[in-house]
């Protein structure tokens, strides 16, 4: 390692432990801390509309879900096309409880951190269960198994009266130290909660990837027989991966239900699962930063296309149908273009940018 931990450029690893550091230099750590502080402080300095805050909250919730999807699909190489169903499991855990004990029960409104953990726990349980076929199935066959879970989930929610047959089940407003979180503060409050969860989960996964289990994930993805021969347990690793992904998805579901103050089936359909997969691909499968880039890119792209559509509709009212078709078209095109030209996703652009900065000012 370089003697000066502030201004080191390039890679100076002299031990495996150096390579495992979360931050290679003090400067990296300082930049991260500054960035994080800025994320927490900026809403206090600028006036942000509820709509924009909702968009940001939505991105953060998606990040929590994609951290999980990236773990199972990106790091462990297990295709999951039922991720929205896992998110739905979290949301409906909370919704079912609200329906049973009342949506303004103290457990729902005051013990919301515990509820979020509970949602994650239920997600993990379902994740582990759905992951069981991974012991026998691979590739497309496994993808079909996860798709089946998505279908079963949708059917269950749509038809069982206990889930209000897919209609929205309301969730009450939560309380914080200052009392009930009002409508005015609702989106700000959940911004801070979701951001904290994203940071904690991000660091947790970063740490996980440095651990034996994290390395097992990658080893099993690259060659499960070789991993088996080296003493790892591929089956257990896969089930763990699904359980962990389910946990993150479950927490995201709980957050979603609290943010939208209810759970309805429209938010957890197959289309949403495909959107999650697109986020993971565009962000960069098998990278931690990809889980942050993907949701931001897809959600902001959606918004920009909506603005474009509105503008086109204003100047060409007769072509409204054509203009509104732009959104699904752009969504599909972006995925295809990324798969063709940048399969490593936006995370790879980030890596390239960082590598330029890392060598600055070419001191060696």
């Amino acid at each position: 390692m370089s003697a000066n931990r502030w201004f080191a450029t390039g890679n100076f690893f002299s031990a495996y432990r150096d390579e495992q550091r979360i931050f290679a230099t003090h400067l990296d750590r300082a930049i991260f801390a500054t960035f994080l502080t800025a994320l927490f402080v900026w809403p206090l300095c600028f006036e942000v509309s509820s709509k924009n805050m909702l968009v940001l909250d939505n991105i953060l919730v998606a990040m929590v879900a994609i951290i999980g999807l990236n773990l199972v699909t990106g790091f462990a190489g297990l295709i999951s096309i039922g991720h929205a169903a896992f998110v739905g499991v979290g949301a409906y855990t909370l919704a079912l409880l609200a329906r049973t004990i009342g949506d303004s029960h103290v457990l729902i409104t005051h013990a919301w951190p515990l509820m979020l953990l509970g949602c994650g726990g239920m997600g993990a349980l379902f994740g582990a269960f759905v992951g069981l076929p991974a012991l026998r199935l691979k590739h497309l066959y496994l993808a079909i198994a996860t798709l089946s879970f998505q279908m079963i989930f949708q059917w269950t929610i749509n038809f069982l009266p206990m889930f209000n047959q897919g209609q929205t089940i309301s969730i009450g407003r939560v309380f914080w130290f200052g009392g009930e979180v009002s409508r005015k503060d609702h989106y700000f409050f959940w911004y801070y909660v979701a951001l904290t969860i994203v940071v904690v989960f991000g660091l947790a996964v970063r740490n996980l990837l440095r651990s034996r289990y994290g390395r097992s994930l990658v080893a099993v993805r690259d060659n499960d027989r070789a991993a088996d021969a080296m003493g790892m347990h591929p089956g257990l690793t896969k089930v763990y991966a699904f359980a962990l992904a389910g946990f993150f998805a479950g927490v995201a579901g709980g957050l979603h239900a609290y943010l939208y103050r209810g759970a309805g089936i429209e938010s957890f359909t197959l289309q949403q699962s495909i959107t999650y997969l697109a986020m993971a691909i565009v962000g960069g499968l098998g990278t931690l930063t990809g889980a942050f880039w993907g949701p931001a890119a897809i959600r902001l792209l959606d918004l920009q296309v909506e603005n474009l559509v509105e503008w086109l509709t204003a100047i060409m009212p007769a072509n409204m149908n054509l203009a509104t078709a732009l959104k699904p078209l752009t969504f599909g095109l972006v995925i295809v273009l990324f798969l063709m030209f940048e399969p490593r996703g936006i995370a790879n652009w980030w890596r390239i940018c960082r590598s330029y900065v890392k060598l600055w000012p070419f001191r060696y």
């Binding site: 509309s49 909702l54 047959q165 929205t168 939208y260 103050r261 429209e266 938010s267």
Partner: protein, 409 residues
């Protein structure tokens, strides 16, 4: 220095003109409404003409200065039938200062119900789901609920059926939209409506209904009452035609007579089902362009004025959108006429006062729009239409289902 003075003169003149004109510009008030609906995605076949109905009527109001110097703004956004997007649009509209909100789907109306309550904003959705009105004070339905429509159809069956107790099957959409009226029809039967509900079928995406139709006939079902959208009904009708099961007269023995609520019918159904739609009975509270009148003449003029094609001009969903915009504008006009300030509160109060002598007749409904603090369903009367020679024709006079009041007791 001299040059600077020369430039100052025109600048001062322009500034003076701007200041002189400013109060006049401020005097023209702008009332903001907003609509979020599915222009793409599920149900966009209804959402598309609906949005055009709203858009055209608002343009007409501004073009003809119906509200004198005041203007109405009504941005329309596509939510792709996704509640999350509807919520985002709604928050944006709120920040923009809307005084009345127009929503669309059942799902999003139910999901945003609490927001409407907290914001105290009068809302008129395109969904006629009875559940919208439960624990709600700010939602106003344009016409009778789906439940009322189905009960109306059930009453029509009972009063026109010859023979024993009529056997009926309900063919419904697998969602809250489809399921909600079933319980109310069952309640009406329990309250004395003499018919038997033999089976309730939640349709999937089946392309063949042979087994279903044969089963219904074997159970001696004579009437199929639908509460869904047009395409599954069209598939059902075509299959029935192929099997020779469509009744040629109402309630023909050994055959099936098909009936349906608002979103099952319209010209789209005839287009999809072709000759199989012949004899199909449909109920809605809107007038149709196939039965000309003052309201429909105005509708066709409006569509022509703003360059809409024939399909849109004749769509009952275009009428639906138009009527919702008419109701909103009329409410604003009434507040304005009283010399009041157009706010959420004043519009809410005015909507609640829209009854008795103050009931509103937009011209394109079969009865007046009436609201009161205890009744938030607009047009209470229904009209039965039946397809004759490829167009929907009125059958009998508009009526109010009697069992609706009985089951509410």
């Amino acid at each position: 220095m001299k040059n600077q003075r020369v430039w100052m003169v025109p600048i001062m003149i322009v500034l003076g003109m701007v200041m002189a004109l400013a109060p006049a510009a401020q005097a023209a008030e702008v009332y903001k409404l907003a609509l979020s609906l599915a222009i793409t995605g599920p149900t966009s076949d209804a959402g598309n003409p609906y949005s055009k109905g709203v858009e055209d009527y608002i343009r007409y109001v501004n073009d003809t200065k119906m509200l004198k110097d005041a203007k109405v703004e009504c941005p329309i956004r596509d939510d792709q039938y996704q509640t999350d997007i509807t919520k985002r649009n709604f928050e944006d509209f709120l920040a923009d200062g809307i005084v009345l909100y127009l929503n669309y789907s059942t799902g999003s109306t139910l999901a945003l119900k609490r927001d409407f309550e907290e914001e105290k904003i009068p809302t008129i959705p395109a969904s006629f789901h009875a559940g919208n009105l439960e624990e709600s004070t700010y939602i106003f339905l344009p016409i009778s609920t789906y439940s009322d429509q189905c009960i109306g159809l059930a009453e029509y069956i009972v009063s026109n059926h010859k023979g024993d107790t009529p056997k009926v099957a309900m063919f419904i959409h697998p969602s809250a939209f489809g399921r909600a009226p079933v319980e109310d029809v069952q309640k009406a039967v329990a309250a004395g409506l003499k018919m038997e509900i033999v089976e309730v079928v939640e349709h999937g995406k089946d392309l063949d209904n042979t087994a279903l139709l044969q089963r219904l006939v074997s159970k001696k079902v004579r009437y199929v009452l639908s509460q869904t959208v047009q395409s599954p009904v069209a598939t059902l009708l075509k299959d029935a035609q192929r099997l020779g099961l469509i009744a040629t007269t109402f309630g023909e023995e050994g055959k099936l007579t098909f009936l349906g609520a608002h979103y099952t019918g319209g010209n789209d159904l005839i287009e999809l089902a072709g000759t199989a739609a012949e004899g199909y009975c449909w109920t809605t509270s809107y007038t149709l362009t196939s039965e000309p009148g003052d309201g429909t003449t105005f509708q066709l003029m409006l569509a022509k004025k703003y360059g809409r094609d024939d399909k849109t001009a004749n769509s009952h969903n275009y009428t639906n959108g138009m009527m919702v915009a008419q109701t909103a504008v009329e409410t604003i006009r009434r507040v304005q006429a009283k010399g009041g300030k157009v706010t959420r509160e004043s519009l809410y109060a005015e909507l609640n006062a829209m009854n008795g002598a103050k009931a509103y007749s937009p011209g394109n409904t079969v009865g007046p729009v009436t609201y009161s603090p205890t009744d938030h369903a607009g047009v209470d009367t229904l009209q039965i239409y039946a397809v004759k020679s490829g167009v929907f024709r009125s059958v009998g006079k508009p009526f109010t289902p009697t069992f609706v009041a009985k089951i509410k007791k």
